[in-house]
Amino acid sequence: MTVVAIVCFALLGAGAVLILARLALGPSLLDRVVSTDALLVTIACGIAVYCAVYRDISLEPVLLVVALLAFVGSVSVARYIGGMLVKAEETPEERS
């Protein structure tokens, strides 16, 4: 099971590094929203892998919180950008 843990954490870590690269480089805000979502999913997978490999259930509530947080974060930022769009429709000169 130790080998499984090493392989899983290596894959998750490489994926998280690549996602962080996109989060830093991302040309637009929506790229960063998408990569933040993927990063939270990666964190949730890492916590679940830890719980499964070591048979430790103390981190499972954190898993639920992370899953909720990913949804709320991406939806609120998307609504925020959409709100900027509606505001730009009303007053075009204040658009930034």
Binding site: G15, A16, V41, T42, E60, L85, E89
Partner: protein, 131 residues
Amino acid sequence: MTVADVVASVCLVAGSFLCLTAGLGLVRFPDVLNRMHAATKPQVLGVLLVMTGAVIRLVGQPIVWMLVLVAVFQLLTAPVSAHLVSRVAYRRRHVRRDLLLVDELGVPAPSGSTAAARADEPAEGPERAGG
């Protein structure tokens, strides 16, 4: 290592591999919609695989239902957030129009304007109201 452990290990490694593919796709793909396509692979299939592996490993423990709840919650919320993000991306013109095969929301382009010049520029104005 029993058979259940082997099955759980395969599920965990496969789910972790999907997270790696999400990272690769996010780095290499050209625009927001393509990156969403890559990033939503671990959101549904990866989380389901990892939760299946964890449930197989942790069966008999008291709060295994929480893992099932996380999987169900991902299945419910991933389409909602993907819909919102992709709708805003389309309206803000963060979409490479020259890479689209079918653009069912698009109005016919006026003559002379090339769709390829629209790539990832800030919104010039609202395309249409409503929604």
